[in-house]
């Protein structure tokens, strides 16, 4: 009997240990929102801001935790309002919203979307028309960065959503390595080394020969791939820039210029703060002294650059550690953007005026956005007067670079008409094709053929000319 009881306790203990052991190993998570499916998803969680006995209540369903902070701030200023903010993982968000809207639920009052979700959400009629009375959103058109304003419009040009942030992409690079290898850490000059794919390859070779890796993964340039839309007039289009991107990814990988790290993996984040090991046959990774020796012999490597959207400023800040101040940001080979939380009002909400007040508070109020720049320590807002005001702000993590100015310039180059609702799946298929070429599983011709097949089977309505 005693044996049994002891065994039962041991087992219960074992189970608990195995559960916690599995649950605690989470890597860092990217700040802000992203369309990347491999990014860690957060659990759904509701947070309530404001007094319980408040006379009015607003329900917000969001993708990024940012809106919780906005809600708290709003309730401080408006004590008679209570806001419940529910954060939902990007993968679940469209389904949740769909269920709520089809069930004719009057909450949530505030709904959000990322660019690649928005087209379908507009079409489904989830978002309130913000051009009409009493909102008159167009009065604010010149206050917001152009491309963000355009993302918030539906196919008929009606304003449906507005974002508080801009998410243009840049190349984040190590200033100390640049100084050592290229003799300069000037963003302009380093930017020239990333101006096109051929130059990136030769930059990568120089770095490799100096004992560094240009990128951690070979997916860093994905935000800058392509010069035109994937689908134009219902036809699939592979332009030369796409092909160049494909070739450069394959070469980066095959010519040993990356650290073969998976994007968003623990090691990928680790490399932002220092060296990562390059494992070879002779190194016993369990032996600390041997690993230290390996480090001295150059068996570890340091990563020169990352390609990230503007919210990467915050992601990176959280992972640089001692390398704070040694990073810089320069332009990539093309203009690109990724993610961003777009806020709108549910068409079924019964508190539309209050919801509009909150929306305005988050996206169109200078005081809030000034506060947000401080609170987020570097998120880049979309409100032009604020950007103008902070143009000269220097970010110490990035060697005193004026990042607001930089990202504003990048945002001005973005052409939103290149974005289609097909992008996510087509990009995935293109990445899969690149993967199979670089690892030698398929020839370029076969891989591109398969890419066409995948697109054709996913979207039969797209015309494909091979």
């Amino acid at each position: 009997m005693r044996m049994k009881r002891a065994a039962a306790f041991t087992l219960a203990g074992l189970m608990a240990v195995s559960m916690t052991a599995c649950g605690s190993g989470n890597g860092g998570s990217a700040k802000g929102s992203t369309s990347d499916s491999t990014e860690e998803t957060k659990n759904e969680a509701a947070a309530t801001a404001g007094k319980k006995d408040a006379s009015e209540k607003l329900v917000v369903w969001t993708l990024a935790d940012d809106l919780k902070q906005f809600a708290e701030r709003y309730c401080e200023k408006n004590p008679d309002v209570q806001i419940e903010t529910v954060t939902i993982a990007p993968a679940d968000y469209p389904t949740k919203i769909q269920t709520a809207m089809r069930g004719k639920q009057t909450t949530p009052d505030i709904i959000v979307g990322e660019p690649q979700m928005l087209e379908d959400m507009y079409e489904a009629g989830y978002f309130e028309d913000l051009d009409q009375e009493p909102y008159n959103a167009q009065d604010y058109a010149d206050k917001i960065v152009d491309y963000v304003w355009d993302v918030g419009k539906d196919a008929d040009g009606v304003q449906r959503a507005i974002s508080y942030q801009i998410t243009p992409c840049g190349v984040f690079y190590r200033r100390d390595i640049a100084e050592k290898v290229f003799g300069t850490d000037d963003p302009e000059e380093i930017g020239n080394m990333f101006q096109d794919y051929d130059t990136i390859l030769s930059t990568g070779e120089t770095l490799r020969d100096a004992g560094y890796k240009i990128f951690a993964s070979d997916m860093e340039m994905t935000y800058f791939s392509g010069d035109s839309a994937w689908v134009e007039d219902g036809k699939l289009k592979i332009d030369q820039a796409r092909m160049d991107y494909l070739d450069s990814c394959v070469k980066l990988y095959q010519n040993d210029m990356t650290a073969y790290v998976a994007q968003w993996s623990t090691t990928w984040y680790q490399a932002m703060g220092g060296s990562v090991p390059v494992i070879d046959k002779e190194t016993n990774v369990w032996d600390e002294t041997e690993m230290e020796e390996a480090a001295e012999n150059g068996k570890t490597t340091e990563i020169f650059a990352y390609g990230l959207p503007a919210w990467g400023v915050v992601t990176m800040r959280d992972h640089v550690g001692d390398l704070s101040g040694k990073w810089g940001v320069c332009a990539g080979p093309a203009y690109g953007f990724s993610g961003g939380t777009y806020i709108g009002i549910s068409a079924l909400s019964e508190k539309k005026e209050l919801a509009w007040d909150f929306l305005k508070f988050c996206t169109l109020t200078e005081e809030t956005l000034d506060w947000w720049i401080e609170a987020s320590q570097g998120d880049v807002v979309s409100y032009l007067p604020c950007l103008e005001k902070h143009k000269e702000d220097e970010n110490t993590v990035y060697g005193g670079e004026k990042l607001y100015q930089f990202f504003l310039e990048q945002a001005e180059g973005i052409d939103y008409s290149k974005v289609t609702k097909y992008d996510k799946k087509i990009n995935d298929a293109w990445a899969a094709a690149i993967d199979s070429i670089k690892t030698g599983e398929k020839s370029k011709e076969d891989a591109v053929d398969e890419f066409y097949d995948v697109v054709a089977s996913t979207y039969p309505e797209i015309e494909i000319q091979r």
Partner: protein, 307 residues
């Protein structure tokens, strides 16, 4: 109870009381099973996008499923992953059953081992996927560090990045998760075999091998068949593990880990083609139905022949 057979009203009352008792189940069943099944069937003939109105399109979706080579590839992937999995899962469970059912060894603590083997099944698939992704990472994973460090292999193996290994890695993980379950069933089967057979065999001087091949195995066959076929039905619906390990519905690398349900999910939830996803669901249903029918046939056929 001695209820008299009173004709007319009273009898009808008894019947309606019965309806009342089964009503909770029937209502729940209609709402949560019958309605979705019928609704999906209806949607499979429409171009429904998940919102807005659905227009009837006839059999277009079914025609598309039959002509879609990626649907067939995902079915083939599923079969491939499942077959390696079932061999390992049943093989391991059977090996353990032999050890634990041996009347001469009389291994103690069966309950403890049974629970231990069952443990992997209690861990959420998300945790399992994360665990194995970390262990099997190409350059930085523990397994490759051990293999390369000990000189067992010259260069790290890209377990999850190569079409030659990725599907089978999923088979192995799945077998690891489920062998405890099969083991419990097989042990129950063994315990259901009369001790007389084993004793008689021992008296007749049958060796361990002979006892196993001539007594245990034949009498275990129905249970093994049951485990195998239920696993096949579950296996055709495989989703969570390959989805989480390959990081999405594309089933990387090169679509080699894309299962049928991942393919269905891609259309139902990622590209708003609910009508097409419903048609895939029904084709999958027909395939599973055929296997279930086969199961009944085989089981029923056995009973007839056996008894």
């Amino acid at each position: 109870m001695g209820e008299k057979a009173v004709p007319g009203k009273k009898k009808r009352n008894i019947e309606s009381t019965g309806y009342f008792f089964v009503a909770p189940f029937v209502i729940a069943f209609i709402i949560f099973s019958v309605y979705p099944v019928l609704r999906t069937f209806y949607l499979s003939f429409t171009d429904y996008k998940g919102f807005g109105d659905a227009a009837l399109t006839g059999g277009v979706n079914y025609l598309r499923v039959l002509q879609d080579k990626f649907f067939w590839r995902s079915l083939w992937n599923t079969a491939k992953i499942w077959s390696v999995n079932i061999v390992l899962q049943l093989g391991l469970a059977l090996a353990l059953t032999i050890v634990f059912s041996d009347i001469k060894y009389k291994i103690r603590g069966l309950a403890v081992f049974r629970a231990l083997y069952y443990l992997p099944n209690l861990i959420a698939a998300t945790s399992v996927a994360f665990l194995f992704k970390t262990l099997l990472d190409w350059r930085y994973g523990t397994l490759n560090q051990i293999l390369v460090g000990s000189g067992a292999v010259g260069s790290p193996v890209n377990w999850l990045g190569s079409t030659a290994t990725a599907p089978y890695v999923i088979s192995v993980i799945s077998a690891w998760m489920w062998f405890g379950n099969s083991f419990i069933m097989l042990m129950a089967g063994v315990q259901g075999i009369s001790k007389d057979y084993f004793e008689a065999a021992a008296i007749d001087g049958a060796g361990r091998m002979k006892t196993f091949t001539r007594i245990t195995l034949p009498l275990l066959k129905p249970i093994m068949l049951y485990v195998g076929i239920t696993s096949l039905i579950g296996g055709l619906q495989m989703f969570d593990l390959p989805f989480l390990i390959s990081g999405g519905t594309a089933g990387n690398p090169s679509g080699s880990t894309q299962t049928v349900v991942m393919y269905l999910y891609k259309f139902g939830f990622e590209t708003n083609q609910v009508g097409y996803a419903s048609a895939i669901a029904y084709v999958l249903f027909i395939i599973i139905f055929l296997f279930s029918a086969l199961q009944f046939k085989v089981m029923y056929g056995r009973k007839k022949g056996g008894n």
